[in-house]
Protein backbone atom coordinates (compact mmCIF):
# COMPACT_ATOMS: atom_id res chain seq x y z
CA UNK A 1 0.00 0.00 0.00
CA UNK A 2 1.20 3.47 -0.84
CA UNK A 3 0.66 6.48 1.43
CA UNK A 4 1.54 10.14 1.05
CA UNK A 5 1.63 11.81 4.46
CA UNK A 6 1.58 15.58 4.22
CA UNK A 7 2.81 17.12 7.44
CA UNK A 8 1.06 20.47 7.11
CA UNK A 9 2.24 21.89 10.43
CA UNK A 10 3.56 25.44 10.03
CA UNK A 11 6.42 24.29 12.31
CA UNK A 12 7.52 21.73 9.73
CA UNK A 13 9.83 19.01 11.02
CA UNK A 14 9.90 20.26 14.61
CA UNK A 15 6.18 19.83 15.16
CA UNK A 16 3.83 18.00 17.48
CA UNK A 17 2.04 16.82 14.33
CA UNK A 18 5.34 15.29 13.20
CA UNK A 19 5.74 13.32 16.45
CA UNK A 20 2.25 11.80 16.07
CA UNK A 21 2.86 11.21 12.37
CA UNK A 22 6.10 9.35 13.19
CA UNK A 23 4.29 6.84 15.41
CA UNK A 24 1.57 6.29 12.80
CA UNK A 25 4.05 5.75 9.96
CA UNK A 26 6.20 3.40 12.05
CA UNK A 27 3.09 1.22 12.44
CA UNK A 28 2.09 1.59 8.81
CA UNK A 29 5.48 0.37 7.58
CA UNK A 30 5.30 -2.84 9.64
CA UNK A 31 3.39 -4.45 6.78
CA UNK A 32 5.96 -5.47 4.17
CA UNK A 33 5.50 -3.85 0.79
CA UNK A 34 4.00 -0.68 2.26
CA UNK A 35 5.64 2.60 1.25
CA UNK A 36 5.18 6.04 2.71
CA UNK A 37 6.33 9.41 1.37
CA UNK A 38 6.42 12.35 3.75
CA UNK A 39 6.11 15.89 2.48
CA UNK A 40 6.29 19.04 4.59
CA UNK A 41 3.79 21.64 3.42
CA UNK A 42 5.96 24.47 4.70
CA UNK A 43 8.66 23.52 2.16
CA UNK A 44 6.16 24.04 -0.65
CA UNK A 45 4.69 27.29 0.60
CA UNK A 46 5.90 29.38 -2.33
CA UNK A 47 4.77 26.92 -4.99
CA UNK A 48 2.15 24.29 -4.30
CA UNK A 49 2.10 22.83 -7.81
CA UNK A 50 4.44 19.89 -7.19
CA UNK A 51 2.59 18.92 -4.02
CA UNK A 52 -0.77 19.07 -5.81
CA UNK A 53 0.63 16.76 -8.50
CA UNK A 54 1.98 14.39 -5.87
CA UNK A 55 -1.41 14.40 -4.14
CA UNK A 56 -3.13 13.56 -7.40
CA UNK A 57 -0.72 10.69 -8.15
CA UNK A 58 -1.15 9.03 -4.72
CA UNK A 59 -3.38 6.14 -3.66
CA UNK A 60 -3.80 7.35 -0.09
CA UNK A 61 -3.13 10.76 1.42
CA UNK A 62 -3.24 11.84 5.05
CA UNK A 63 -2.90 15.53 5.84
CA UNK A 64 -1.78 16.29 9.39
CA UNK A 65 -2.10 19.72 10.97
CA UNK A 66 -2.56 21.54 14.27
CA UNK A 67 -5.78 23.41 15.12
CA UNK A 68 -5.40 27.16 14.53
CA UNK A 69 -8.25 29.20 16.00
CA UNK A 70 -10.82 26.44 15.60
CA UNK A 71 -9.90 25.51 12.04
CA UNK A 72 -7.03 24.62 9.72
CA UNK A 73 -3.98 26.94 9.60
CA UNK A 74 -4.12 29.50 6.76
CA UNK A 75 -1.33 27.67 4.91
CA UNK A 76 -3.38 24.43 4.97
CA UNK A 77 -6.37 26.35 3.58
CA UNK A 78 -4.09 27.63 0.80
CA UNK A 79 -3.26 24.01 -0.09
CA UNK A 80 -6.94 23.06 -0.03
CA UNK A 81 -7.65 25.92 -2.43
CA UNK A 82 -4.82 24.73 -4.65
CA UNK A 83 -6.53 21.30 -4.85
CA UNK A 84 -9.75 22.86 -6.18
CA UNK A 85 -8.83 22.34 -9.88
CA UNK A 86 -8.79 18.56 -9.24
CA UNK A 87 -12.57 18.57 -8.66
CA UNK A 88 -14.33 16.47 -11.27
CA UNK A 89 -11.43 14.17 -12.18
CA UNK A 90 -11.87 10.42 -12.10
CA UNK A 91 -8.86 9.02 -10.26
CA UNK A 92 -8.43 10.25 -6.73
CA UNK A 93 -6.51 9.25 -3.65
CA UNK A 94 -8.43 8.25 -0.57
CA UNK A 95 -8.03 11.16 1.84
CA UNK A 96 -7.78 11.34 5.63
CA UNK A 97 -6.68 13.84 8.22
CA UNK A 98 -4.70 13.87 11.46
CA UNK A 99 -5.61 16.91 13.52
CA UNK A 100 -4.25 17.79 16.94
CA UNK A 101 -4.63 20.69 19.33
CA UNK A 102 -3.16 22.03 22.55
CA UNK A 103 -6.54 22.15 24.26
CA UNK A 104 -6.92 19.01 26.34
CA UNK A 105 -10.41 18.12 25.06
CA UNK A 106 -11.12 16.53 21.68
CA UNK A 107 -14.41 18.48 21.45
CA UNK A 108 -12.45 21.44 20.01
CA UNK A 109 -11.50 19.38 16.95
CA UNK A 110 -14.94 18.11 15.96
CA UNK A 111 -15.87 21.20 13.97
CA UNK A 112 -12.86 21.38 11.68
CA UNK A 113 -13.17 17.60 11.27
CA UNK A 114 -16.68 18.11 9.87
CA UNK A 115 -15.20 20.63 7.44
CA UNK A 116 -12.47 18.19 6.39
CA UNK A 117 -15.02 15.46 5.71
CA UNK A 118 -17.11 17.85 3.61
CA UNK A 119 -13.98 19.05 1.81
CA UNK A 120 -13.14 15.44 0.95
CA UNK A 121 -16.59 14.86 -0.52
CA UNK A 122 -16.47 18.17 -2.39
CA UNK A 123 -13.21 17.34 -4.10
CA UNK A 124 -14.43 13.83 -4.89
CA UNK A 125 -12.07 11.71 -2.77
CA UNK A 126 -13.04 8.72 -0.65
CA UNK A 127 -12.89 9.74 3.00
CA UNK A 128 -10.59 7.68 5.21
CA UNK A 129 -11.46 9.46 8.44
CA UNK A 130 -9.98 12.04 10.78
CA UNK A 131 -7.61 11.10 13.58
CA UNK A 132 -8.18 13.61 16.38
CA UNK A 133 -6.09 14.17 19.49
CA UNK A 134 -6.18 16.95 22.07
CA UNK A 135 -3.55 17.85 24.66
CA UNK A 136 -0.71 17.88 22.14
CA UNK A 137 1.14 21.13 22.79
CA UNK A 138 4.72 20.53 23.91
CA UNK A 139 4.73 16.79 23.18
CA UNK A 140 8.51 16.79 23.35
CA UNK A 141 8.46 18.07 26.94
CA UNK A 142 5.42 16.17 28.20
CA UNK A 143 6.31 13.38 30.64
CA UNK A 144 6.39 9.86 29.18
CA UNK A 145 3.61 8.61 31.45
CA UNK A 146 1.26 11.05 29.69
CA UNK A 147 2.30 10.33 26.14
CA UNK A 148 3.27 6.64 25.93
CA UNK A 149 -0.29 5.33 25.86
CA UNK A 150 -1.49 7.40 22.97
CA UNK A 151 1.79 7.25 21.07
CA UNK A 152 1.27 3.48 21.07
CA UNK A 153 -2.35 4.01 19.92
CA UNK A 154 -1.05 6.08 16.98
CA UNK A 155 1.31 3.18 16.22
CA UNK A 156 -1.57 0.67 16.37
CA UNK A 157 -3.66 2.90 14.12
CA UNK A 158 -0.79 2.90 11.62
CA UNK A 159 -0.38 -0.91 11.81
CA UNK A 160 -4.09 -1.38 11.25
CA UNK A 161 -4.24 1.13 8.40
CA UNK A 162 -1.21 -0.54 6.83
CA UNK A 163 -3.04 -3.88 6.79
CA UNK A 164 -6.61 -2.89 5.99
CA UNK A 165 -6.48 0.56 4.39
CA UNK A 166 -8.99 1.68 7.01
CA UNK A 167 -8.70 3.94 10.02
CA UNK A 168 -9.96 1.92 12.97
CA UNK A 169 -12.96 3.49 14.70
CA UNK A 170 -12.34 1.74 18.00
CA UNK A 171 -8.82 3.17 18.28
CA UNK A 172 -10.13 6.60 17.21
CA UNK A 173 -12.63 6.49 20.06
CA UNK A 174 -9.88 5.63 22.54
CA UNK A 175 -7.67 8.43 21.24
CA UNK A 176 -10.53 10.90 21.46
CA UNK A 177 -10.70 10.63 25.25
CA UNK A 178 -11.30 12.99 26.93
CA UNK A 179 -13.98 14.41 24.68
CA UNK A 180 -14.76 16.88 27.48
CA UNK A 181 -13.13 17.39 30.87
CA UNK A 182 -15.00 16.89 34.11
CA UNK A 183 -14.84 19.82 36.55
CA UNK A 184 -12.51 17.70 38.67
CA UNK A 185 -10.17 17.00 35.75
CA UNK A 186 -10.21 20.61 34.68
CA UNK A 187 -9.14 21.75 38.14
CA UNK A 188 -6.16 19.44 37.85
CA UNK A 189 -5.20 19.84 34.20
CA UNK A 190 -5.51 23.62 33.77
CA UNK A 191 -2.92 24.66 36.41
CA UNK A 192 -0.64 21.89 35.15
CA UNK A 193 -0.69 23.38 31.63
CA UNK A 194 -0.64 27.03 32.72
CA UNK A 195 2.31 26.66 35.03
CA UNK A 196 4.15 23.64 33.67
CA UNK A 197 3.96 24.61 30.02
CA UNK A 198 3.45 28.36 29.75
CA UNK A 199 4.80 29.98 32.92
CA UNK A 200 7.94 27.88 32.66
CA UNK A 201 8.68 29.29 29.19
CA UNK A 202 7.84 32.86 30.19
CA UNK A 203 10.05 32.60 33.25
CA UNK A 204 12.91 31.28 31.16
CA UNK A 205 12.48 34.32 28.88
CA UNK A 206 12.24 36.70 31.85
CA UNK A 207 8.75 37.95 30.94
CA UNK A 208 6.54 36.19 33.49
CA UNK A 209 5.74 39.50 35.22
CA UNK A 210 4.73 41.00 31.85
CA UNK A 211 2.67 38.08 30.61
CA UNK A 212 -0.58 40.07 30.67
CA UNK A 213 0.90 43.06 28.80
CA UNK A 214 -1.51 44.93 26.52
CA UNK A 215 0.77 46.44 23.89
CA UNK A 216 -2.04 47.22 21.45
CA UNK A 217 -3.75 49.73 23.73
CA UNK A 218 -2.33 53.22 23.10
Amino acid sequence: MQLLFINASPRGKKSNTGILMGHFIRGFLETSGNACDVEYLVKHKNNLKILVEKFNASDNVIIGFPLYIDAMPGSVKAFMEALAPLQGRKEFPALGFMIQCGFPETAHLRFVARYCEKFTRRIGCRFLGSILKGGCEGLDVQPTFLTEKYFSLFGMLGVDFGKTGKIDEVILTKLARPEHLSAENMAMVVPFINQGLWDAQMEKNGVLDRSFDRPLIP
Binding site: Y68, S75, F103, F119, I193, Q201, S211
Partner: protein
Protein backbone atom coordinates in the same frame (compact mmCIF):
# COMPACT_ATOMS: atom_id res chain seq x y z
CA UNK B 1 -19.33 53.10 15.42
CA UNK B 2 -15.74 52.21 14.58
CA UNK B 3 -15.89 49.45 11.97
CA UNK B 4 -13.10 47.44 10.33
CA UNK B 5 -13.71 45.35 7.22
CA UNK B 6 -11.10 42.73 6.30
CA UNK B 7 -11.52 41.82 2.65
CA UNK B 8 -10.11 38.36 1.97
CA UNK B 9 -10.91 38.30 -1.76
CA UNK B 10 -7.89 36.70 -3.49
CA UNK B 11 -5.68 38.42 -6.09
CA UNK B 12 -7.62 39.30 -9.20
CA UNK B 13 -10.58 40.43 -7.10
CA UNK B 14 -13.15 38.32 -8.91
CA UNK B 15 -16.83 38.00 -8.01
CA UNK B 16 -19.14 40.37 -6.21
CA UNK B 17 -17.45 40.95 -2.90
CA UNK B 18 -15.19 43.91 -3.77
CA UNK B 19 -18.01 45.96 -5.26
CA UNK B 20 -20.31 44.88 -2.41
CA UNK B 21 -17.79 46.18 0.12
CA UNK B 22 -17.45 49.45 -1.82
CA UNK B 23 -21.21 49.99 -1.59
CA UNK B 24 -21.24 48.92 2.06
CA UNK B 25 -18.46 51.36 3.00
CA UNK B 26 -20.27 54.20 1.24
CA UNK B 27 -23.56 53.46 3.03
CA UNK B 28 -21.82 53.07 6.37
CA UNK B 29 -20.09 56.40 5.98
CA UNK B 30 -23.31 58.16 5.13
CA UNK B 31 -24.88 56.50 8.20
CA UNK B 32 -22.15 58.20 10.26
CA UNK B 33 -19.88 55.21 10.96
CA UNK B 34 -16.10 55.44 11.10
CA UNK B 35 -15.20 52.64 8.68
CA UNK B 36 -11.93 51.25 7.33
CA UNK B 37 -11.74 48.50 4.71
CA UNK B 38 -8.47 46.61 4.32
CA UNK B 39 -7.93 44.60 1.14
CA UNK B 40 -5.74 41.80 2.46
CA UNK B 41 -4.30 40.80 -0.93
CA UNK B 42 -2.54 44.19 -1.09
CA UNK B 43 -0.70 43.55 2.18
CA UNK B 44 2.17 41.39 3.36
CA UNK B 45 0.72 38.87 5.81
CA UNK B 46 2.95 35.87 6.43
CA UNK B 47 1.31 32.79 7.91
CA UNK B 48 1.55 32.24 11.67
CA UNK B 49 4.45 29.83 12.30
CA UNK B 50 3.21 28.66 15.70
CA UNK B 51 6.31 29.95 17.49
CA UNK B 52 4.24 31.28 20.42
CA UNK B 53 6.72 34.12 20.97
CA UNK B 54 3.69 36.43 21.19
CA UNK B 55 2.79 34.48 24.34
CA UNK B 56 6.10 33.58 25.94
CA UNK B 57 8.72 36.06 24.74
CA UNK B 58 7.16 39.38 23.70
CA UNK B 59 3.72 39.15 25.35
CA UNK B 60 1.03 40.48 23.02
CA UNK B 61 3.30 41.17 20.02
CA UNK B 62 3.76 38.78 17.09
CA UNK B 63 7.36 37.88 16.26
CA UNK B 64 6.77 38.50 12.53
CA UNK B 65 7.18 42.16 11.62
CA UNK B 66 4.86 42.63 8.65
CA UNK B 67 1.48 44.23 7.88
CA UNK B 68 -0.42 41.79 10.11
CA UNK B 69 0.85 43.63 13.18
CA UNK B 70 -0.98 46.78 12.17
CA UNK B 71 -4.06 44.81 11.11
CA UNK B 72 -4.21 43.23 14.58
CA UNK B 73 -3.89 46.70 16.09
CA UNK B 74 -6.78 47.95 13.97
CA UNK B 75 -8.76 44.81 14.81
CA UNK B 76 -8.48 45.61 18.50
CA UNK B 77 -9.21 49.31 17.99
CA UNK B 78 -12.49 48.55 16.19
CA UNK B 79 -15.82 47.99 17.89
CA UNK B 80 -17.09 45.91 15.01
CA UNK B 81 -15.07 43.77 12.59
CA UNK B 82 -16.51 42.33 9.39
CA UNK B 83 -14.61 39.38 7.95
CA UNK B 84 -15.38 39.34 4.25
CA UNK B 85 -14.48 36.63 1.76
CA UNK B 86 -15.75 34.53 -1.08
CA UNK B 87 -16.22 30.92 -0.03
CA UNK B 88 -13.49 28.79 -1.60
CA UNK B 89 -13.90 25.04 -1.17
CA UNK B 90 -16.52 25.81 1.45
CA UNK B 91 -14.49 28.13 3.65
CA UNK B 92 -13.24 31.75 3.61
CA UNK B 93 -9.99 32.33 1.72
CA UNK B 94 -6.55 31.49 3.06
CA UNK B 95 -5.78 35.22 2.98
CA UNK B 96 -8.44 35.85 5.60
CA UNK B 97 -7.45 32.78 7.62
CA UNK B 98 -3.80 33.86 7.67
CA UNK B 99 -4.82 37.29 8.95
CA UNK B 100 -7.00 35.72 11.68
CA UNK B 101 -4.29 33.22 12.67
CA UNK B 102 -1.95 36.12 13.33
CA UNK B 103 -4.38 37.43 15.97
CA UNK B 104 -3.60 34.87 18.67
CA UNK B 105 -1.47 37.51 20.37
CA UNK B 106 -4.72 39.18 21.54
CA UNK B 107 -5.36 36.36 24.02
CA UNK B 108 -3.20 34.91 26.79
CA UNK B 109 -1.63 31.43 26.77
CA UNK B 110 -3.21 30.48 30.09
CA UNK B 111 -6.31 28.34 29.93
CA UNK B 112 -9.48 28.67 31.97
CA UNK B 113 -12.96 27.24 31.98
CA UNK B 114 -15.54 28.90 29.75
CA UNK B 115 -18.96 27.20 29.71
CA UNK B 116 -17.59 23.76 30.51
CA UNK B 117 -14.69 23.90 28.04
CA UNK B 118 -11.11 25.05 28.28
CA UNK B 119 -10.31 28.29 26.44
CA UNK B 120 -7.55 30.90 26.58
CA UNK B 121 -7.69 33.74 29.08
CA UNK B 122 -8.31 37.23 27.80
CA UNK B 123 -5.50 39.77 27.48
CA UNK B 124 -7.64 42.87 26.94
CA UNK B 125 -10.79 44.18 28.62
CA UNK B 126 -12.76 44.48 25.44
CA UNK B 127 -12.78 42.81 22.04
CA UNK B 128 -14.64 43.75 18.86
CA UNK B 129 -17.85 42.07 17.76
CA UNK B 130 -17.04 39.96 14.71
CA UNK B 131 -19.28 39.28 11.73
CA UNK B 132 -19.03 37.35 8.49
CA UNK B 133 -19.80 38.59 5.00
CA UNK B 134 -19.50 35.75 2.49
CA UNK B 135 -20.02 35.15 -1.18
CA UNK B 136 -21.44 31.73 -1.96
CA UNK B 137 -19.92 29.25 -4.40
CA UNK B 138 -22.03 27.53 -7.04
CA UNK B 139 -22.26 24.41 -4.84
CA UNK B 140 -22.67 26.04 -1.40
CA UNK B 141 -25.33 24.15 0.56
CA UNK B 142 -26.94 24.20 4.01
CA UNK B 143 -24.34 21.80 5.39
CA UNK B 144 -21.51 24.17 4.40
CA UNK B 145 -23.27 27.05 6.10
CA UNK B 146 -23.89 25.03 9.28
CA UNK B 147 -20.22 24.02 9.46
CA UNK B 148 -19.11 27.62 8.91
CA UNK B 149 -21.46 29.01 11.52
CA UNK B 150 -20.27 26.52 14.12
CA UNK B 151 -16.57 27.16 13.46
CA UNK B 152 -17.10 30.91 13.39
CA UNK B 153 -19.03 30.91 16.70
CA UNK B 154 -16.22 28.95 18.30
CA UNK B 155 -13.63 31.38 16.93
CA UNK B 156 -15.60 34.20 18.53
CA UNK B 157 -15.56 32.38 21.89
CA UNK B 158 -11.82 31.81 21.65
CA UNK B 159 -11.21 35.49 20.83
CA UNK B 160 -13.46 36.78 23.61
CA UNK B 161 -15.62 38.27 20.91
CA UNK B 162 -19.29 37.89 20.12
CA UNK B 163 -20.94 37.10 16.81
CA UNK B 164 -22.71 39.97 15.07
CA UNK B 165 -24.17 38.73 11.80
CA UNK B 166 -23.49 36.14 9.14
CA UNK B 167 -24.57 37.54 5.79
CA UNK B 168 -24.15 36.64 2.14
CA UNK B 169 -23.57 39.05 -0.74
CA UNK B 170 -26.96 38.08 -2.13
CA UNK B 171 -28.69 40.06 0.65
CA UNK B 172 -28.93 43.86 0.29
CA UNK B 173 -26.29 46.15 1.82
CA UNK B 174 -29.06 47.83 3.86
CA UNK B 175 -29.56 44.63 5.89
CA UNK B 176 -25.99 44.86 7.15
CA UNK B 177 -26.34 48.52 8.04
CA UNK B 178 -29.47 47.59 9.97
CA UNK B 179 -27.76 44.66 11.74
CA UNK B 180 -24.94 46.95 12.89
CA UNK B 181 -27.26 49.72 13.99
CA UNK B 182 -29.43 47.47 16.16
CA UNK B 183 -26.44 45.69 17.68
Amino acid sequence: MKILILNGNPPGGKGQIDSYIDRLVEKMKSAGHDVTAITLRDHKISPCIGCFQCWVKTPGICSIDDDARDITRQFMAAQYVILASPLMMGFPSFLLKNAMDRNICIVHPHLEEVDGEVHHKKRYDRYPVISLLLEKEADTDEEDIDILKDIFRRQAVNMWSSVGFIHFTESPVEEIIHAITVH
